[in-house]
């Protein structure tokens, strides 16, 4: 049992937002001038020369969002969207150029923020010459867990992440899934109020993913706040209360999953059952979209009138109604449209089409 400090207690009762990100900017400079301040001055005063000496990559551009207490918040985005950069700034691993981040009202990288936060990096790699127990002992010492509590806490944690059997094995003999679990154990060992996980589900098999998902759900039940980045949409859909979708360093959308998936366009999905030839005839005559699925047919109607018209026709022809439901866009479709992937794909296709026409 971990005692709650007065500061933690007041935090529990206090402000609603655990993380506040405000107008965050980060540009990476590579090449001969890797050092931020020097290169920033040069880019301002002599951009032509700076261009020759270095390259600039804008990883995060004016990002703002907040994470509320007790929620599971997903940071979504394709590779290169700026998710890991944002998380690294939060963890004090890199420094922002502009803007502000606050964790529990403190600056990232400050001891006050670090004490309350557990972090699992992307593709975690730990000291492979250590055994699980040695490794967690090191983590316990770094997080200030009293010596007399360490052994008990380590064993409880190893049990929680399902690594009791591998306790004596050096970490270099661990599989990817086991490393992810020991990574989660080191993040949770100090019983943090906020857990930040960078791609916690990537590279895991379905069983491993379910186990990690269950642990994340358990954290929410304990009242902890979880922020995680991912591009595995099904997991995000299963876990998150709210999501932020990022693309090319900017925020494209933020909101609850229900809001995001809610479709208010009136589009309905109707599944009809009946004789094969009657279904085929209706599909052929129907001007909207529809398809055969085995012995049934699925139709998409765009408006209430269209739906009524189709239903009337179907009943007249002796078909039976199997189901009628509002059509929800999948998270994948939303993700693709918000991140501009669909538009880019379409413009790419149209460009190649134009090129083909030109060649002809």
């Amino acid at each position: 049992m971990i005692s709650v400090t007065p500061a933690q207690k007041s935090e529990k009762e206090g402000s609603e937002n655990i993380i506040n990100v405000n107008n965050l900017h980060k540009t990476f400079v590579t090449g001969f001038l890797p050092y931020g301040r020097v290169s920033r001055v040069l880019w301002k005063t002599w951009p032509r020369g700076a261009k020759v000496l270095s390259n600039r990559v804008e990883a995060v551009k004016g990002l703002s969002f907040s994470v509320r207490r007790g929620e599971i918040f997903g940071l979504l985005g394709p590779n290169g969207a700026g998710k890991t950069t944002t998380l690294k700034i939060m963890m004090g691993l890199i420094f922002q150029d502009k803007g502000e981040i606050q964790l529990f009202g403190h600056k990232p990288g400050s001891l006050q923020a670090k004490k309350r936060t557990g972090f699992l990096p992307e593709n975690p790699y730990f000291y492979d010459y250590l055994r699980a127990e040695e490794f967690l002992s090191l983590v316990a010492a770094l997080t200030g867990i009293p010596r007399r509590e360490r052994k008990k806490r380590i064993h409880e944690m190893l049990k929680r992440v399902g690594l009791e059997e591998a306790v004596d094995r050096p970490l270099r003999k661990y599989s990817k899934g086991m490393l992810q679990r020991i990574g989660l154990a080191q993040a949770l060992l100090c019983d943090p109020l906020l857990v930040v996980l960078d791609e916690p589900l990537s590279g895991l098999d379905p069983v491993g993913r379910k186990e990690i998902r269950d642990i994340i759900r358990g954290l929410k039940k304990e009242g902890k706040t979880v922020l995680f980045s991912s591009h595995i949409l099904s997991d995000v859909e299963m876990l998150c209360d709210r999501v932020a979708i990022m693309s090319k360093g900017s925020l494209r959308h933020i909101g609850s999953l229900d809001e995001l998936l809610k479709d208010d366009s009136g589009t309905m999905e109707m599944v009809l059952n009946g004789k094969k030839e009657v279904l085929d005839e209706l599909l052929e005559k129907w001007e909207g979209s529809g398809e055969r699925i085995g012995e049934k047919a699925r139709f998409i109607t765009e408006s209430a009138e269209e739906k009524d018209r189709l239903l009337k026709k179907a009943l007249e022809k002796g078909l039976s109604l199997e189901s009628l439901a509002p059509r929800r866009s999948s998270l994948e479709e939303i993700f693709m449209s918000k991140t501009g992937t669909i538009d880019e794909k379409r413009s790419g296709e149209s460009q190649s089409k134009k090129k083909d026409e030109k060649e002809e």
Partner: protein
């Protein structure tokens, strides 16, 4: 302090589980043992040859080990991305650096101690004795490798192991040649070159302070075979080494404080 010692113990554990270190240690021990063969070739000077060769081997391999361990200290953490889980823990960045340095000092103490034991063993087998001057000489070599490991740590806090290794060895060579270079400065024709060399020599540690056998100290010829330096000298040289190392560590801390871990 507990956090620094946790990192130090882990650094020590990592070093002693590194096989390359054992290979270096093996060569050091082999060279010390080889002094028996070389000593037999000398006429009635066996002990003298064993003492000189033993000390030289201890010094050379301690420096090589200090460079090898030092340049990898920070770089390995970055390359293997272990820094991504260490830095977000409730520790200051400077605590991490000091933990690494103390761990390395501990490793070097064990290794230099081991080489010294082998050296003393060989010496005693050949009929020699472990004299206080030898202990003084070995202590000075240990302080020298501490200085070198801070230099290596400083370079490794912002550059690759190859460059860090190169710079550190350069500092070692120039540092050992300090009296020769200082003697040469007045003879330099160009004023700018003179000033530049003098400025460089202010930055480079005077490692000759730790390598006193067979050198002039305050106008007196000192050697482990004759009159050697006093404990006061050893104390002063140790203080110089610790102050120099402290300054270099401060610079490393400044570089490390605002470094982005990409």
């Amino acid at each position: 302090m507990r956090k620094i010692s946790a990192i130090a113990v882990n650094t020590f554990r990592e070093a002693i589980r590194n096989k390359i270190l054992y290979a270096l240690l093996f060569f050091a021990v082999a060279l010390i043992m080889a002094s028996i063969v070389v000593a037999r070739l000398s006429l009635h000077e066996e002990i003298r040859v064993i003492e000189d060769l033993g000390l030289a081997a201890t010094s050379l391999f301690s420096v090589l080990i200090a460079v090898f361990v030092g340049v990898n200290l920070v770089y390995k953490e970055l390359e293997r991305k272990t820094v991504f889980f260490i830095i977000p823990k409730p520790i200051y960045r400077w605590e991490f650096l000091w933990g690494k340095l103390i761990g390395t000092s501990l490793t070097l103490a064990v290794l230099v101690g081991f080489m010294a034991l082998v050296f003393f063993g060989v010496l005693m087998i050949m009929g020699g004795a472990v004299r206080v001057v030898l202990l003084k000489a070995i202590w000075l070599y240990y302080v020298e490798v501490l200085v070198i490991s801070t230099v290596a740590l400083f370079f490794s806090s912002f550059s690759s192991p190859f460059l860090s290794g190169l710079f550190t060895i350069l500092v070692f060579v120039v540092g050992r040649l300090t009296p020769d270079i200082e003697m040469f400065i007045p003879r330099m024709g160009d004023e700018w070159l003179k000033t530049f060399t003098q400025a460089v020599m202010y930055c480079i540690p005077d490692l000759n302070l730790f390598n006193v056998s067979g050198a002039l100290v305050a106008g007196e010829w000192v050697s482990i075979h004759g009159e050697f330096v006093t404990w006061l000298y050893v104390g002063k040289a140790t203080a110089y080494g610790l102050i120099y190392g402290g300054i270099v560590m401060f610079l490393a801390m400044v570089v490390f404080r605002r470094r982005d871990f990409v």
